[in-house]
């Protein structure tokens, strides 16, 4: 399960409310981005093209390990820009077809690649989101529970962090989520996310 909020900021102002931060990369993997929007989105586009290009030339997909390494090299290539303040940090998730399991990779600005076995969150509200997940995460989460937890983590992060946007009930803008498994990658539909947030808000109101 991979999910992201929709807020883009410019200094202390809101630059966008509908920004998409989670992207499909190929049939079995997805990427979410944090940092400077321009170079980050360009990196995603180039990464998508590179993987498709490889697949068509060679007649088969790169291994998941291979894709993760390729992304690491692209982040490393961006290092000079980091000193100008243009940081790009992604999180890369996918289903490893050869191993038959889902995998999560996080990165640092030098292209260093680290595998997470349970969960991870990035961006300005990443720490807050991780705190929520640490409290509620179990290995045996079902898809619906994992989605709920991801949405809760984003909600809590939005409460603590100015850079993270919560569900926008007035405009009907909600975080986006995708699920990756052996059958491929599926978008979680907006109404499903809206319903889960409606239930969460009812619960919060009751508690206070």
């Amino acid at each position: 399960m991979i999910a992201g909020d929709r807020r883009a900021t410019e200094g202390f102002q809101i630059a966008g409310r509908q920004m998409e931060k989670v992207f499909r990369v190929d049939a079995y993997s997805a990427i979410a981005i944090a940092g400077t929007a321009g170079p980050a989105i360009e990196m995603v586009k180039l990464f998508q093209t590179e993987l498709e290009h490889y697949e068509k030339l060679e007649g088969l997909q790169l291994s998941y390990e291979g894709k993760a390494n390729k992304l690491g090299q692209m982040i490393k290539a961006n290092l000079p820009m980091v000193f100008h303040g243009l940081i790009v940090i992604p999180i890369y998730v996918g289903y490893d077809v050869r191993r038959g399991e889902g995998r999560i990779f996080k990165y640092d600005i030098t292209g260093g690649r680290y595998e997470e076995s349970e969960y991870h969150a990035i961006g300005s509200g990443g720490k807050d989101a991780r705190n929520t997940m640490r409290e509620h995460y179990r290995k045996s989460l079902e898809e619906e529970e994992a989605l709920k937890l991801a949405l809760l983590a984003l909600y809590n992060a939005a409460e603590e962090d100015v850079g993270t946007g919560g569900p926008d009930l007035i405009r009907g803008i909600y975080p986006t989520a995708k699920v990756v498994n052996g059958e491929g990658i599926t978008d979680i539909e907006d109404p499903r996310i809206a319903a889960l947030y409606a239930a969460l808000i009812v619960e919060r109101k009751k508690e206070s």
Partner: protein, 228 residues
């Protein structure tokens, strides 16, 4: 001083063309055919890993007959051209027409300037959004380009198959099963033997698919399509 011997340009071109034609005719045939939901490609190919049919872009496929190493190079160049263009501009700006023109230029230049012409014939096909929007381009070893309708054949005894199909193919686009049947029987009449499903390479550009339209149909599935 010995005089450099003279060969007339006409003679040189003719020799080159004959040489290339011989190389292409030695191989086996490939058919591309428009069907109800897109374009079907069928190749007589005993290898399961060395493909003659390949995806180029979202709605474009490539197929080559003749010398493997030569059309493989052309295939890779085509993928590079398409991916670069799609990245630089937009996915919808990648068209079979521009690719076919590029191939035509390359093959034409090599045919007239190099000592040895490429012994290849290639197909570039693009599935359209509607039933009428399909494009089939056949490009020959000398760079001449043909805009085909309904079906196109390259490699082996392509002319004989073309005549055979002209009889069988009606103007109305057939469903997948009928199209596959038509292609297989056309290949079989030329080789005068029953072809096994393992020896057939089959792929489609299916316009009902979302995103990338190219899909390989593996032997068990093509058997299923023909028998049910």
């Amino acid at each position: 001083m010995p005089l450099p011997y003279y060969v007339s340009p006409e003679q040189m071109m003719q020799d080159k063309a004959e040489y290339a034609k011989k190389g292409i005719a030695k191989g086996r045939s490939i058919i591309a055919m428009e069907y109800l939901d897109g374009i079907l490609l069928v190749a007589d190919n005993p290898s399961v890993s060395l493909y003659k049919i390949s995806e180029i872009y979202d709605n474009i496929a490539f197929s080559g007959a003749g010398k493997y190493s030569e059309f493989e190079n052309l295939r890779k160049a085509g993928i590079r051209h398409a991916d670069l263009k799609g990245f630089m501009y937009s996915r919808e700006d990648v068209t079979a027409r521009s690719l076919a023109n590029g191939y035509s230029q390359t093959l034409g230049t090599i045919f007239s300037q190099e000592l040895k012409p490429l012994e290849v014939e290639i197909l570039v096909v693009q599935v359209g959004e509607g039933e009428q929007g399909n494009e089939l381009y056949r490009i020959s070893f000398d760079g001449s380009i043909f805009d085909e309708r309904g079906f196109a054949v390259i490699g082996g005894r392509s002319e004989a198959i073309q005549v055979h199909l002209k009889d069988q193919y009606k103007n109305e686009k057939p469903p997948l099963k009928q199209a596959l049947n038509l292609c297989v029987s056309a290949l079989e009449t030329m080789t005068n033997q029953k072809l096994s499903f393992e020896g057939l390479e089959v792929a489609v550009l299916d316009r009902t698919r979302i995103g990338r339209k190219f899909r390989r149909i593996l032997p068990p599935e093509s058997q299923l399509i023909l028998t049910t």
